[in-house]
């Protein structure tokens, strides 16, 4: 008898079943919040910057709104998937026992992780898609480039969630979870190049910013919309994100296997 290989799909199905119960509040999160960002920051701050002394040259002839708005595709996916990689992981081990009941059935811990990350990718596409949908409503950000940007945004999100799933699973309790948001996600958001080009930062900070997955995600989304990506820059950014996804994926499989087969 050959063991079935459908495990990850079943885990994906479970996540989808849960999502069907909460999708309304989720949609609000992935459309309304970015809409507020885009309007508030993009248009509000934009009016200051565009009329400022270095307006056009700094942003390569983009308006601030055009510069800022596509970045939100990546940062939204990052924020939503980060949240999904913290307390919900704790829930799967402790509060709802989901991972335990899945591995009591014929699903392996490694398949639980794969299914979970497949779900994160799907959720990343949904959240990035929500933001892209908002951008369709503005003449200056409407374009076919939004489609690849959705994929790039989701990938950037999973580049966060994969290692974070491994990390959250390895914690004995959830006390350190808020620190991830405070000391990792918020700073990365601020230095991601979403709000201003990172070339404005001092050299050493610029160097650090280039190592964060979110900067690569922002570059990809912005470049896709404004058609400034080259084959080599795209491969470099995507490759960098894939490294994070792969490393996180393997690490998470290890941690889950250890924790679920005591």
């Amino acid at each position: 008898m050959i063991a079935s290989r459908t495990g990850p799909i079943r885990v994906l199905e479970y996540q989808f079943m849960v999502y069907l119960r909460v999708w309304k509040s989720n949609v609000a999160g992935s459309v309304l919040r970015p809409l507020l960002y885009v309007l508030g920051m993009g248009l509000g701050v934009g009016s200051l910057v565009d009329d400022g002394p270095r307006g056009g040259q700094l942003l390569a002839d983009l308006t601030y709104f055009q510069f800022f708005a596509p970045a939100i595709i990546a940062t939204t996916a990052m924020q939503i998937l980060t949240n999904d990689s913290l307390w919900p992981i704790r829930g799967g081990f402790v509060w709802h026992g989901t991972f335990h009941s899945q591995t009591t059935a014929p699903i392996t811990p490694g398949e639980v992780v794969s299914g979970l990350l497949m779900w994160h990718l799907a959720k990343g596409l949904l959240s990035a898609g929500g933001v892209a949908l908002v951008l369709v409503f503005f003449d200056s950000t409407r374009g076919w480039g939004l489609l690849p940007a959705i994929g790039f945004g989701a990938l950037a999100g999973v580049a966060y969630s994969a290692p974070l799933v491994a990390w959250s699973a390895s914690r004995k309790n959830d006390l350190a979870y808020p620190n991830v948001l405070r000391f990792v996600i918020v700073p990365m958001f601020l230095f991601s190049g979403a709000f201003y080009p990172i070339t404005e930062l001092p050299g050493w900070l610029q160097f650090i910013a280039r190592l964060t997955p979110i900067w690569h995600g922002v570059e990809l989304c912005r470049g896709a919309l404004h058609d400034t990506l080259t084959v080599s820059s795209t491969s470099a950014h995507v490759g960098f994100l894939l490294v994070w996804v792969t490393v996180g994926w393997f690490a998470a499989q290890r941690v889950f296997t250890k924790k679920l087969s005591l």
Partner: protein, 312 residues
């Protein structure tokens, strides 16, 4: 020559489980055959759940041998789990989903088509008398109801063998009897039952054969009636004296019956004729506050073999 049909479903030899340097299961031997109802009776920390998780092909063994359906859990864990139904000690029901969805998604984990999983979930909820709660959330259910949902869930894949870790612990007597009745029906349908318990009445009710576990080892094995016959005289006289004076009574009961146990809350006198033992107590002028003659039980076997009581 043994044929496939009478090969044991579970075969354990010198089975061990360690957590770091703590040994929870210390080399136990047992076999479970098809259609049998087999129990692990033991107090808290005896190693029952650790053993069940190894049998469930979830927890790797630390030593010895274990085969399930003739397969090695290390190699064929998935195939083994596909043929098992598992009721874990802590239910593991998903509070994010409704009662019925808990069953359906669990069925999907076994690759059961959605439509069939849906139909079966309703049949099983009917079987555990919870059909009217199909759409309910998990959280408002009572402990006994949750236990029944978990049992219904464990049956979604038509398992050949059902593993139940303390099926009725924490339930009131009525809820226990409802559960026992359902398990008895499964047994009649030919499902092999393997259960753990620290209730001797549950073990006597449900098990054809059982092992008594204590501190990671098996101290006795057999059918409940045989174990009692082998390890304990037929009757027990239970005496209660005013609190705190039991230790002083040793003289008063010395030599009565086959054996005496002085417990903190009562004195047990083991004898083939309990009434005769009671007459002797009275003849000696001893005045217990209450006296009761009952038949020997597995509790007495456990006390005899380990010097401790099962439930404390």
């Amino acid at each position: 020559m043994t044929t496939a049909s009478d090969a044991p479903l579970i075969l354990a030899r010198q089975l061990r489980k360690s957590f770091d340097d703590f040994e929870a299961v210390k080399g136990i031997d047992f076999e479970v055959r098809k259609g049998e109802s087999f129990g692990f009776l033991g107090p808290n920390g005896a190693g029952k759940s650790s053993t069940m998780r190894m049998i469930g092909a979830v927890s790797p063994i630390s030593g010895g041998e274990l085969s399930l359906f003739g397969l090695d859990p290390e190699v064929d864990g998935k195939q083994i789990r596909a043929r098992l139904g598992v009721v874990p000690q802590d239910n593991q029901l998903d509070e994010l989903l409704s009662v019925q969805d808990n069953l359906i998604i669990y069925g999907r984990y076994f690759d059961i088509p959605y439509k069939i999983a849906r139909e079966r979930s309703l049949e099983l909820l009917d079987f555990v008398q919870l059909k009217d709660r199909a759409r309910s959330k998990i959280e408002p259910l009572s402990g006994g109801m949750k236990r029944r949902v978990t049992i219904a869930r464990s049956l979604i894949n038509n398992p050949e063998m059902l593993l139940l870790d303390e099926p009725t612990t924490g339930l009131d007597p009525q809820a226990r009897h409802v559960l026992w009745d359902r398990l008895y029906r499964l047994k009649q349908d030919g499902v092999t039952l393997v259960l753990t318990t620290h209730y001797m009445d549950e073990a006597e009710q449900l098990c054809d054969r059982l092992v008594i576990m204590d501190q990671g080892t098996i101290v006795a094995e057999g059918a409940p009636a045989d174990l009692i016959r082998t390890h304990s005289p037929r009757e027990v006289l239970e005496l209660r004296y005013p609190a705190g004076t039991n230790a002083d009574r040793t003289q008063e009961v010395d030599g009565i019956g086959a054996r005496q146990e002085i417990l903190p809350d009562r004195i047990l006198i083991y004898a083939d004729d309990g009434e005769a033992a009671l007459s002797e107590v009275h003849r000696r002028g001893s005045q217990p506050e209450s006296a009761l003659v009952r038949r020997s039980s597995l509790e007495d076997v456990f006390l005899r073999l380990t010097g401790r009581t099962l439930v404390d």
